[in-house]
Amino acid sequence: MNRFKFSALLVALFLLGACSGNTTKDGVGDDVLVEERNGASTSGVSDQNADGRDLGAEASVVVGEDQFSSSELNDPSNPLSNRIIYFDYDSASVRPQDQAIVEAHAAYLGKNPNLTVRLEGHTDERGSREYNLALGERRALSIRQLLMLQGASAQQFRVTSFGEERPAVDGSDESAWSQNRRVEIVYIGR
């Protein structure tokens, strides 16, 4: 549909809304039984129903950046195939058993300075959603710091937090929660 038709439609909708204004006669008398006052006021009654339909927006869908792939990253016996780091509740510290994975990625990034990774921080569903958004970022930044200490450089990172909004596993038990408290290392090339 062309622009003119839409403008016309909008105008029509607007007029529709304007015309459907209610006349509310509002008597606030004490001892008057039912008081009627002249002069119509378009009260709030109509505002809500004026459009009478959904006037919403559609969020555009972003196509993800191309993920980078290599034989080392895909080899299941290579620690680089491990690209998810898990965390304890309300913690952003890397657990001892995951240190080797982080070291391997730091070395790989150091050897391949043309590579970039997106660090996506996530939390489990417990507690405040906004606090969790910040906690997810804290986890991603903690991984970034370790990777940088071990050979990667600052330009190789993008950091994003999804808080508890994109769980890896749906569910409300420790098994689901422990899989959702994570940072995903996503290689995106350059």
Binding site: M1, R3, F6, S7, L9, L10, G17, S20, N22, T23, T24, K25, D26, G27, V28, G29, D31, V32, L33, V34, E35, E36, S43, G44, V45, S46, D47, Q48, N49, A50, G52, R53, D54, L55, G56, A57, E58, A59, S60, V61, V62, R126, G127, S128, R129, E130, Y131, L133, A134, L135, E137, R138, L141, T160, S161, F162, G163, E165, R166, S172
Partner: protein, 432 residues
């Protein structure tokens, strides 16, 4: 820009009406023993077949508030529609304190005349009486407006039946992917409308003080981003898409500023964005801590927020134009998601005890804290605009639902929507 907008709008107008209009329904789940008995006589319909049963809407509003106990219809001794037909002695026998009568008529089936009268049964006096003229489409809203008058007349507090709710829904589509929607509905769950749809999560809707706009957070561009959207036109604008987190919008009481959480300088801090100029002012400054979830005091002088600067999330207060933050909550090791009552006297928050999350209310003067909910999965509390109820999200049988509790903890309501996960509720301001 405008053109892009119109095109998007066009796509929406084409498909939105086909969206399922799931309804939130309210049920009282506890504690209405102090409810006030009231007789609501079905309104007389003079030769009309009205599209909505207005007295049923009023009755439903008053009953679902938990503050009123409408008499059963079969117990009504008579069906007066005007004062001359009322015998107060009969109604006193029923121990009804209030009596609401009215009638609805129409000459053309398009415009309706509605009148009501509310009586004090014991004194035999009229407390309120009004006459209205509305189109058929306005009858439901008028029902809420009359319920507001009855509520305010008999309780002395503002009615909130003409207000709206905003909330986020999540459904799993047939392809297994999640679809998210920001919706608004009337306070009774009727008249749901979709404000925004996305394949990506939506968070933290916040009403502008005039009720005409919503601020919210989306991930549609791959990261958190704050938008402001006009509800009548659907027109929206990105107001914060800096590096890092852009989240937790909260309108200043004058509607001219948004408090936000931004981590553009490396750490989540509370900022105030002046909407007209785009000017940003940093309010908190604590490089080690998470500072987020700002909310304004009703006078606009202070901002309350969540911070873990003491090691655990607690609520703090800081002057809105910056300054030293002082801690407000001391009980328990997890207090987050603050909201301040419209009179500025109470703080509601999520209060965790042993890994379980409750809605609590704290008196800001005395510091006394009261836990209001029993289930341990509550989050996102939001005061009703009359300060009498707190709306929050919780879980029922593994599904997100909304619930509300009175500030004294006595009245509990559940608002559920079939087949949908519902969360992130926000109660609109009163209509101006």
């Amino acid at each position: 820009m405008i053109r892009k907008w119109l095109l998007k709008l066009g796509v929406l107008l084409a498909f939105l009406p086909l969206q399922a209009q799931a309804l939130l329904t309210i049920e009282i789940t506890g504690g209405s023993d102090a409810a006030l008995p009231i007789a609501i006589v079905p309104f007389g319909a003079e030769g009309v077949n009205a599209p909505e049963d207005i007295s049923a809407i009023i009755r439903n509003d008053l009953a679902s508030s938990g503050r009123f106990a409408p008499l059963d219809e079969q117990d009504l001794v008579s069906r007066p529609t005007e004062q001359s037909q009322v015998n107060f002695a009969d109604w006193r026998l029923l121990r009804s304190e209030g009596l609401l009568i009215g009638k609805i008529s129409s000459q053309d089936g398009e415009n309706y005349q509605v009148q009501f009268q509310l009586f004090d049964v014991y004194r035999g006096q009229q407390l309120a009486g009004k006459r209205y003229q509305v189109p058929a489409s306005g009858i439901r809203a008028l029902g809420h407006q009359i319920a507001d008058v009855v509520y305010e007349t008999l309780t002395g507090e503002k009615g909130i039946f003409s207000t709206r709710l905003a909330f986020v829904t999540q459904v799993s589509a047939s392809d297994g992917k999640k679809r998210f929607a920001l919706q608004i509905s009337d306070a009774d769950g009727a008249n749901p409308r979709t404000v925004l749809q996305s394949t990506q999560p939506i968070m933290s809707p916040a009403w502008s003080p005039d009720g005409n706009q919503l601020a919210y957070v989306t991930f549609e561009n791959g990261k958190s981003e704050v938008f402001v959207q006009k509800l009548q036109s659907g027109q929206r604008q990105s107001v914060a898409s800096f590096d890092g987190i852009n989240s937790a919008p909260a309108w200043s009481p004058d509607g001219r500023k948004l408090a936000l959480t931004l981590s553009r300088n490396g750490n989540p801090e509370v900022y105030v964005l002046e909407l007209s100029s785009g000017e940003l002012m940093r309010v908190t400054n604590n490089a080690q801590a998470i500072d987020t979830e700002a909310v304004w005091s009703p006078d606009g002088d202070n901002i309350f927020f969540t911070s873990d600067r003491g090691g655990q999330p607690q609520i703090y207060r800081v002057p809105a134009n910056g300054g030293r933050a002082e801690r407000v909550t001391f009980e328990g090791n997890y207090n987050a998601s603050p909201d301040i009552s419209p009179d500025g006297r109470k703080l509601t928050m999520v209060h965790a005890v042993s890994g379980r999350f409750y809605i609590a209310v704290q008196d800001l003067k005395t510091g006394a804290l009261q836990v209001l909910t029993e289930s341990g999965r509550a989050e996102s509390p939001s005061f009703a605009p009359n300060g009498q109820m707190i709306l929050y999200a919780t879980e029922q049988k593994g599904r997100g639902v909304l619930a509300a509790v009175s500030v004294d903890g006595r009245i509990h309501q559940r608002l559920s929507e079939s087949g949908t996960i519902v969360r992130e509720p926000a109660w609109s301001p009163l209509k101006k």
